[in-house]
Symmetry: C2
Subunit: 198 residues, 2 copies
């Protein structure tokens, strides 16, 4: 069995690294966190935010590397907090979001993640989504960010009440990263085994 | 009397153009709106957002030009909505912000504007601030954005209850633009009259 292929993840979020590892190790990929400042655009398109950030890091971070941007989009709030989920979390927090949802009957929301992979100087983008609803109150101590108030469709647990493995069966991030893993396996591992057989 | 000096303002916000004209015409400057897509960074520093946007437009927009970025910073909400004021306005709106402020006794806030001027390829940044409080409900039909819920310190009117001229006596944007005007007059008009006398 060959050594796992290293893949660099530009983030300072330990929760994201933990989840990326849980998903990518099954594909023989070892996630290495890489601290670097990302240039993040103001845009309502996570694809644009992630691909611009990846492009600005090409040549500065060892390849293959990826960045990931994600957001919680609440339908009755016109998609708020969306691409600015992290800022909103740091300021008004879960309490603020729950206050905005007081008395609101339509509690549908989706989590979206976009991973942008840089491979041979080219950027490839992968999207994952999960539909769910906003809980009436925060529950659970796992995960991070909005996990305590998000219940994926078909579950009565919030993401914060699940183990990392269980969250990754549902999550937006896991979906985006599985697509990324399949792509990179196709491109890199196949090429690599081709070479070693030649 | 010489013709007014044209200065390009990269914005699609008509309210901002109206205010910029009200301020800058007193300095012999004629504001010309210039539609162009700005690259706006995600950053909690308006200076960084404005100067990055201006730098990305240098060489593409006739000089002198400026961009302006502004935000409403509510103290009890840790600065929210801050640099993302425009997105928050488009999603949860004044109603959402007022809901977040329900039952909150500390209603202090400040409006901040940063103008970034591009002159001979160099970027110069000017900041204006105004302290005030968040009204209990929206009042007035003038201005734009958060004007109906912001009362500057020492006034019992919201910005939306004031004429453009009256708002510009107090406003963050007018302060930043007066500083910009003084700078450009010094740099351009003085040089110009120097040349014409030579």
């Amino acid at each position: 069995m060959s050594a796992p292929l290293k893949i660099y993840f530009v983030t300072s979020n330990e929760g994201k690294v933990r989840e990326a590892n849980a998903v990518l190790r099954r594909y023989g990929l070892a996630v290495v966190p890489y601290p670097a400042r990302k240039l993040e655009l103001q845009s309502e398109s996570l694809e644009e935010v992630a691909s611009y950030a990846a492009r600005s890091l090409a040549g500065k971070v060892p390849e293959p590397f990826f960045v990931e941007d994600s957001g919680l989009f609440i339908y009755s709030l016109r998609g708020f907090p969306g691409p600015y989920s992290s800022y909103v979390y740091r300021t008004i927090g879960l309490r603020g979001v729950l206050k905005l949802m007081e008395g609101v009957s339509d509690r549908r929301a989706k989590f979206v993640a976009v991973a942008a992979l840089c491979l041979r100087g080219e950027i490839h983008v992968f999207r994952g989504e999960v539909e769910g609803i906003i809980a009436l109150q925060a529950r659970g101590a796992g995960g991070f960010g909005y996990d305590p108030i998000f219940m994926p469709l078909g579950s009565n647990k919030t993401f914060a009440e699940m183990s990392t493995e269980e969250k990754c069966r549902h999550s937006h991030r896991a979906k985006a990263l599985r697509a990324l893993a399949k792509y990179i396996i196709d491109e890199v591992v196949r090429e690599h085994s081709g070479n070693s057989c030649a």
